[in-house]
Structures are given as C-alpha cells and as structure tokens.
C-alpha cells in the first residue's frame, strides 16, 4: 500500500505542477476554455485519486475547488484574479497536504479552514451576483455536483388534527423544508375520513418527506419548532450524501407510495441500501472510464524510476569503457576482421550513449513554472510591476543538473526582483518603462547549455561594491581592480551587497553559495552589469555529468584528458623556443598567446623531447596555451570521481579508465588556468580562507 501511496504522491506532485502552469497561463488568458478544462480535470483526478488513497483532506478540498472550476467551466463564474489567487494558494496548500506529517500541524489545519471558507465564499459570491432569472439554473448546477456535507433525511410529519386552530399551515412548513434543500414530498390522504364524518377544520393529511440538504438535523427540526409539541414528527438521517440525485431511488419511492398507504422508514432504508450499492458501482464505472481515457492520452510516454535510469547510465558508461579496451586490443593485434567489428561496436556504443543521455535530459521548462510563480508572488509582495519572459524553455539538461540548479536560479531571481528592479515610480523617473522586465534565456552553446538571467533594473554600483569590499577588508584600498574583477567580488563568501537585510535576499549567504552550487555541477557563473541599466548573470553548464568527449594527452607518463569543447587548436612547438620565451608568451599564427608549461606547473622535470605540443584552449574570452608532451587523440571519457581523498584537487574534475586499464585524469582547464595565473581576485580568495 505504501508503494501505491508513494506513486500517488509522485503523480499528484506532477499534477500540481502542471496545474500551477495552467493557472499561470490562465491568468494571461482568463477566457481560454481549454485551460479551464485542464484545471478542472486536474482537480477532478486529484480528487478521485486522493480519495482512493485515503488523503481525505485533499479529497474534500479538491472537491470544493472542482466546484468552483465547474462553475467557471459552465460560464457561471469568471476566472478572476481573486479566484486564481485563491487557487494558487490552494495549490501550495495541497502540496503540503501530500505530506501526511503535516496533518497535525495546527498551521496547516488553520490554513485549510481559511482556504475552504475562501473557496466557499467564491462559490457563494457567485450565486449572490447572479440574477434571479438564472437562479434556477444555478441551483441545478449546485445540485449536479455533490455538495460537501449534504445528507439525506427521512421526515415523518403527522400534525394533530387541530393544527389549523393555531393558525399554522403545514404546507408552509413544507415550503420551509424546500428552502433547505432538495425535497421529495409524499402526502398521504388515507386517514381522511369519509365525507359524513369529516371535520372541515381538521387536518387529516400526513406527510413523508425525503430531504437532501446540507443543513443539520437541528435546522430541520427547527422548522417544526412550533408544532413539535402536538404533532408526530420523526426525523432520521438515511444517507450521508444526496440520495435524491439517484433517479431510480426516487422512482422506487414513488412506486411504493402509490401502492402502500405510507412508505415507512424501514422501506426507505431498504431502498437506501440499494441506492448505496448502485452508487459504488457507478463510482467504479466512472473511475474505470477515467482510467481508460488517461491511459490513451499518456501512451506516448512512460514513467521510469530514476534509479533505473541511473543503472542504465552506469551500464552505458561501463560499455564505453569496455569498448575502449576492445578498440585498443583490435589495434594492437592485427586479427583480420576484428578491426571492423571493434569499429562497429564503437559506433553503436556512441549511439547508445547519446540515446541514453537524451533519456535523462529534461527540458528546463519543468522548473520554469516555479520561477514564474516566484516572480508573480514576489513582485506582488514587493509592490513592483515585473514581467518574466522566458526563452528557450525547451532546452534540455541532465535531470540531476536541473535538480541542483533550481535553488541557485531561485536565488538569482530573488536578487533581481529585490535589488535589481526598482519601484515603478523610480523607474518612471529614470525614463524606463514602468514595468520591470526579467528574462531567462536558455540556449545551447557547443556541448554546454547557457542560462542567462537578465533584468533591466538598477544594476550593480561598482563604487559601492568596491567601498564595501574595502570596508570588509576583502581588498586593500589602494588596489585597482578591473570592472570584471569588481563584479567578481559579489561571489566572495560573506559579501552581501544589500544595504538592508530583507526577507528575500541579502542575508550574506548570497552569490557565493550560488557560485559554489553551480561549480558543484561543473558549471560556471559570470556576471555582467551596467550600473543603472541592469544586470545579466550567465550560467554555463555541461550538458551531462558523466561522459565527455576529450583530448587525450600525455605528460611524463601520466595521461590527461582535456575536454574537447574548450580546445581551440593544437600546435607543435620547439622545446628550445619555449625555454627562450620571456613572460610565458608564444606567438602562434601571428598572435601572442600566453601559455603554461604543464610539466613545470606540476613540478615535473623538463622534457627531453625536442618537440612538444601546445594546446590552445579557450579561457573566458582569451586563448591560453597549455604545453604537453604529446597529443594522443580524441577520447570518450567516462567521468569517475576521484573520491574524498582528492577533494582539494579541484583542477582535476575526475578520472577515466583507458583502454589498457590505466587511469587518465580529466583536467578542468578553467580551474587549472586560474590556479596557474594566480589572478588578483583569486589571490584574495586564498587569503580569505584562513580568516574564516
């Protein structure tokens, strides 16, 4: 059962996410019927499933929401902002309700009640605003949906004969019952005596009433409050739902009433039982119907557990490693026919690798809804007008990357909203459009995915940043920093630029955390900002985390792999030339290129070879040469972690196993160059650490 519950929660989470998306879209196009349908459907599915798995609070809650959207669907209500606000709040609440631990949280329960009353208000507000002419229709709508708390009662009412003497008209009492809910009245005249003994001032009629109402038993007996002393009144609950929607039940009642003198409680109860069993059958039927339709729509995709995908990815990695061994073996042993096979296996494993990767890639659209919601809610809260534009939502990324990306992106967006976008009057004064604009753009760039978040807000004040860095002792006052270096300062730990600590951002756990989280997934963050015009933050991410195409090189007798995507060109170079250069710059193709002699940087002896090779790699916007002994060739590297013992060697992003079983190290060129070049800013960071 727990398993099913887990599945339900998973499914419900998906549904709610989809719901949020539809709601936000609905806000843009409140008239879009298909969106309303979608919302209604989600509510309906949630209701059905949650009921099945015992999430009663969700069941009852979605039921109410469903009512609202049913009204909207039928044109009885408009999808106003107010309704959407409540619905979005409801979505949040439902998410909480998915966790059963929250059921005892008084806050959640309070929230639950508050939302329920709000929802009830929405429905009521509707009927009040409706004109009388539509009232009937309206009631119809209300009745077609099972109201929560609606129960069916059996009432036996036999007034004393002298009831008219008090001036009471029993028919008025019946009218009053009509006001309470749906009523089926059976008047019995069998006690009316023959005309010769009939007293015209006596009431001989008695009634049996079946009433379906949300009113309580007390409310019903209140109707009879003035006559209860001298009348026979019996009120009995017969069902905890609206029995009168069941036409067969009513027909049977009528049949009984016409054949017998009176129906009697016991026969009503018998009929109720029959009705109950019918209801259950109906439910099953409609459930089956729901099932079969949903199956038809989802046949194009299947749900696979993430564990299975991980296993698949591991197997593919092993296959690629084994294939490398096969290729090597085929090359070394000249067995006729083996080489083509090895090549074929290589081709297949490459295809398999790409396909397997594409499975775990999911479009970033999946997390955009969350951001849209964040921008909407936050801008409301801050009283700022902001549009959030997304571009390239179909860009796909490894699911593990997406998972670890959500938090940092959220933080960046919060920063933009809180500190970036100015209040609308400030914006107007500055000659900007009143409405702020935040855009999230995702696109492919080689084997990387770039995510760019830009706002047209205030931008970062370089003077303020510098002052602050000096005040905090991060840099010395006489140090001249380039603009880029100044902006880089915001990524340093403990550097929060917000003058005031707000609820949203600026708690000092700012951009440094963002940077760290992104570098955890081998990504990089860059910041650009024009003071007064806005800020752009660019995140560069690898497409996948586990296999990269690399260039296999050798230094001394260690193999290194340089990610192919950063490699620009390879040149052969005379060893003497390197030795003679001054300031570590070589001229290649008429351009000056700074270089690093890997042997020297790794504390190895000078090479005895006459020629070495310069690999020119892209580093930020520059080109930098790395000198290695020689280049072996292209290689598909399955990245393996180096483990905890090497956690401080972050210039090596991992290791891979070569065809001959030895290990090659995968180099992170950016980190290696940064380490070698000992940038001003990076020096600061190193000095910072011991203080902490």
């Amino acid at each position: 059962m727990d398993n099913f519950k887990k599945k339900f929660i998973e499914e419900a989470t998906d549904l709610l996410e989809g719901l949020e998306k539809s709601l936000l879209a609905l806000e843009e196009n409140p008239e879009d019927l298909s969106l309303i349908q979608q919302v209604f459907r989600v509510m309906h599915t949630l209701k059905g499933n949650s009921g099945m798995f015992g999430f009663e609070m969700i069941d009852s809650f979605t039921h109410e929401m469903e009512t609202v959207y049913d009204l909207i669907r039928n044109g009885k209500l408009k999808a106003t902002r107010e309704i959407l606000d409540v619905t979005l709040a409801a979505v949040d609440h439902l998410k909480l309700l998915l966790n059963e631990d929250n059921y005892n949280d008084p806050e959640v329960i309070g929230n639950h009640k508050e939302l329920l009353s709000k929802v009830a208000l929405l429905v009521k507000g509707d009927s009040a605003s409706e004109q009388n002419a539509h009232a009937d229709l309206n009631v119809e709508v209300n009745k077609s949906v099972e109201e929560k708390g609606e129960k069916t009662y059996y009432i036996f009412f036999e007034p004393i004969n002298e009831i008219f003497d008090n001036g009471t008209n029993p028919l008025y009492l019946l009218d009053e019952l009509h006001d309470l809910g749906k009523v089926e009245v059976f008047a019995h005249l069998n006690k009316v005596p023959s005309l010769n003994v009939l007293n015209p001032e006596f009431c001989y009629t008695y009634w049996e009433v079946i009433i379906a109402t949300s009113a309580s038993l007390n409310d019903i007996s209140d109707v009879f409050i003035f006559v209860e002393d001298d009348s026979t009144i019996e009120i009995q609950e017969i069902a905890d739902y609206n029995l009168l929607t069941d036409e067969i039940f009513i027909d049977d009642l009528k049949k009984l009433a016409s054949t017998q003198n009176d129906i009697g409680l016991s026969s009503v109860q018998n009929l109720t039982k029959e009705a109950n069993s019918r209801k259950v059958k109906d439910k099953i039927k409609s459930f089956n119907k729901d099932r079969s339709t949903s199956k038809e729509t989802s046949i194009s995709s299947i749900r696979v557990s993430a564990d299975k995908l991980d296993i698949l990815m591991n197997l593919v990695s092993e296959l690629v490693t084994t294939q490398a061994r096969l290729s090597l073996f085929a090359e070394e042993n000249n067995i006729p026919g083996l080489l083509p096979i090895a090549e074929n296996v290589q081709k297949l494993s490459r295809q398999l690798r790409d396909t397997a990767f594409s499975i775990v890639l999911i479009p970033i659209e999946n997390m955009l809804t969350r951001f849209q919601r964040l921008v909407r809610d936050l801008s409301n809260e801050l009283g700022k007008e902001v549009v959030f534009v997304t571009e390239g939502a179909e860009t796909e990324l490894d699911k593990t990357i997406i998972e670890s990306l959500a938090d940092p992106l959220m933080h960046i967006l919060r920063n933009s909203l809180d500190h970036g976008i100015e209040d609308s009057d400030v914006r107007v004064k500055k000659g900007k459009p009143k409405q702020g604009r935040i855009s999230l753009k995702a696109y492919y760039s080689g084997a990387n995915v770039m995510i760019q978040i830009s706002d047209d807000g205030a931008g970062i004040d370089p003077v303020m940043i510098t002052e602050k860095a000096i005040a905090k002792g991060i840099i010395s006052p006489d140090r001249k920093l380039t603009k880029r270096e100044v902006l880089e300062l915001v990524f340093l730990p403990g550097f929060s630029t917000a003058r005031q600590v707000t609820d949203l951002s600026g708690r000092g756990v700012g951009m440094d955390v963002v940077k760290r989280k992104i570098s955890d997934i081998r990504g990089e963050v860059e910041i650009e900002s024009e003071f007064g015009h806005g800020t752009t933050i660019t995140i560069k991410l690898p497409l996948t985390l586990s296999i990269i195409d690399g260039l296999l090189v050798k230094v001394e007798d260690t193999h290194f792999i340089i990610p192919l995507l950063v490699v620009d060109k390879i040149y052969a170079i005379d060893h003497e030339k390197i030795k003679k250069t001054f300031n570590n710059v070589v001229v290649l193709d008429g351009k000056q290129i700074p270089f690093f002699y890997i042997r020297e940087e790794f504390d190895l002896n000078e090479s005895q070879e006459k020629f070495e090779q310069v690999i020119v790699v892209n580093f930020e916007e520059k080109r930098v040469g790395l000198i290695v002994d020689h280049v072996i060739g292209e290689y598909q590297a399955v990245l393996k972690p180096l483990g905890k013992h090497y956690k401080n060697q972050d210039m090596i992003s991992g290791a891979t196993i070569l065809g001959d079983g030895t290990v090659a190290l995968v180099v992170d060129t950016n980190k290696i160059i940064k380490l070698f070049s000992k940038h001003e800013v990076f020096k600061i960071k190193e000095e910072e650490k011991p203080e902490k």
Binding site: H559, E601, Y646, T662
Partner: protein
C-alpha cells in the same frame, strides 16, 4: 555479510612496513592487489600516491609508509596494495594502502589481543586497536578507519608531540 557477523570473525591480515608488522581486521580488507601502475595526481599531498583502476572504478592509493611518517615506499616484488573499506563519517570509501609486504591471515582470539598500552607506547593509541603476541612477535592491530580517514600524515610514531604526556613515554615500549 553484515557488520555484526564480520566483527565475530577473528581473522586479521598482517602486513609489513619496513621491519614492523601490523594487522588489519579482514572485515576491512576487500582485496589484495599486486603493484600496478599508479597514475599520479598532480598537486596532491605526498602520501597520496595516485589512483589506480579497480575493476572500473577509480581507487585512490595511499603510501602507508609516508602516512605513518616513514620514508616513501620503495617498490619491490613484495609491494602490494591492500584495498580497504574505510568508514569516513558514516560513509564507506574504498582506498588502496601501499604496503611493503603482505604476510598472512592470522586467527587471533579476542582474548589474546591486549589493549593498546595507554602509556609507554611509541604509537598513538587512537590508531591502535590492540596488540597481539604471535610467536613472540608483537603485532599492532590498526584501527583502519581512524588511520585512513584523517587528512594529515598521521605520524603514527608520536615523537612530534613534545607535550607533558610524551616526556615519560620515550621509547619505553621498544
């Protein structure tokens, strides 16, 4: 086999570093490998010898001698890599330990393991689980988790600490 069963076994793998003999509980030992080519990782601490390929995974190899404050291992035909399963903060990590020679698997009854001498030992007691006397030789039974989960060179021989407690410890144990 779960931890409980493992701890009931009284088998220990003994190995040599120089002339001294040590032992590790077999529950910690996964494998004994012959010396293979170790890929050095640049800019790593000296005792981190590098990485090797252990059936498709990358295994860091530690020069146990350096780790224990001795001279670096000189590779001979007897040099072996013991693959250990180390528990670091509740996480199980595999490391390879370079040793001069692997000796034997010894059955040592729990009762024959003496507690580490609290004073008078030349080794830090936190790394020693106990001492066993086998054929008149004393074998140090090491707490592998403690030895290999620290970042620094552990310097098993506690001479560097010239604090009040070390003054009366000087070499009595030898």
């Amino acid at each position: 086999m779960n931890q409980e069963n493992l701890s009931k076994i009284n088998s220990y793998l003994s190995f040599k570093l120089g002339d001294e003999e040590f032992a590790a509980h077999v529950g910690k030992v996964l494998n004994i490998l012959e010396m293979t080519k170790i890929t050095e990782v640049p800019k790593a601490p000296v005792y981190m010898k590098g990485v090797i390929n252990l059936r498709g995974t990358v295994l860091p190899v530690i020069d146990t001698r350096i780790k224990f404050g001795m001279t670096p291992t000189v590779y001979t035909t007897n040099t072996c890599i013991i693959v250990l399963d180390i528990d670091v903060d509740g996480e199980s990590i595999y490391v390879g330990a370079l040793v001069d020679a692997v000796q034997a698997v010894l059955e040592i009854d729990k009762n024959h393991i003496l507690p580490p001498p609290s004073i008078g030992s030349k080794y830090k007691s936190e790394f020693i689980e106990g001492v066993a006397n086998i054929d008149d030789k004393f074998i140090m039974i090491l707490n592998m988790d403690a030895v290999f989960s620290t970042d620094e060179i552990t310097n098993l021989r506690d001479k560097t600490e010239e604090t009040e407690q070390t003054t009366d410890i000087e070499e009595i144990g030898s």
